[in-house]
Symmetry: C2
Subunit: 205 residues, 2 copies
Amino acid sequence: MTGTRPARRGRPRGTSTRELELIALRLFTEQGFHETTIEQIAAAAGVSTRTFFRYFDAKASVLWQTFDTEVEAIRSALADAPDDLPVMEAVRHAVLAANHYRAADVPELRMRMTLVGTVPEIAASASVRYDAWERAISEFVARRVGQPADALFPHVVGRATLAACRAAYERWAARADADLTVYLDAALRALAGGFREPLTEPGSG
Amino acid sequence: MTGTRPARRGRPRGTSTRELELIALRLFTEQGFHETTIEQIAAAAGVSTRTFFRYFDAKASVLWQTFDTEVEAIRSALADAPDDLPVMEAVRHAVLAANHYRAADVPELRMRMTLVGTVPEIAASASVRYDAWERAISEFVARRVGQPADALFPHVVGRATLAACRAAYERWAARADADLTVYLDAALRALAGGFREPLTEPGSG
DNA sequence: GGACTTTTCGACATGCAGTGTCGAATTTGG
DNA sequence: CCAAATTCGACACTGCATGTCGAAAAGTCC
């Protein structure tokens, strides 16, 4: 989000968060998360390990770069939702709108998802980020039903919605046979239906 | 689950997981999680830091001792559920049955919940444990709807159910004005209703 | 162009989590 | 009393994360 100002003041940066992200993603998939040291990532980018921590506050943070973008997309989509649209309909549309990726970005996205769903240490690092995602939902729900954002109902909706989406993410990353939005749509419809009628797997129809 | 055999063979243990758990819980609440070193916990129990890691594989693991018990309780409750009971009804009953605590255990439970909901590092350590909880649900759902346990629908139900319960846990730990089961019941009813009608906060009626 | 400011970087040091190794300590069983 | 079993403590080591401080590299102003 740092505006690309053409001429900054002091010494120019030796690398970028994006470069470190790509290098780390490659090394993690090649040799594993735990087997990759920060020293290796930094060395591959031509900087010191100390500098790595000037770009990211932790080893796993390198994988959560693009996550904030999605949260913001959901937020703005929910802000534009018409008032007569049912709450869970609005939520579903917002999530789907925020998860349309260009074909070129899909392999990287899948790589990231696979790591999140596979490596426990990375999954653990997610809990903090998920809070922002959930808040985007719960604050919208709170507005619509006229309750404080930290009340039980909005909180439950936010948590459950993210949980459903995570399940869809993981299934998609593991199977790779359909569009991500198909999985998300199915999961969110099942959620809004109270899980009364079971769902047929997207790929198996 | 180590059966308390009265006479074992070699040198007797210098402490127990339970003792370490209580000491750690006290120190964490007194001075914070990050501010408490394993050296302090071990010293308070009269053992070396190396020995701490013979009882737990990580610093945060010390707080998840009793979690497995709950998962097992849910599992067995679901196994006994009658076939004509709707799926989400059975899930709700099982969760509620597994969360009846004796009054004496409530303060410790609340302490633990507060830490999980407050300290990011502890929340992060939870993701692995939650998997077992979710599997208990999703395997039951898979059985009932005749799908593989790793299919999308059971997966979504498991994730969403745990998410709803976590929201209830946190609200309960933060407010402390009612029984835990009241919060859980409300959250799970809202989930099974597809979040169509909003929920009134348990304490504010 | 030279002095000054701003910003990033590298080197060094430190603390803590987690793991491997190995010998010592302590109990039971013969 | 000796042997087997089991736990513990001491030591060493790697890696993550953070603090400090001076050097490097750019722009800015005169």
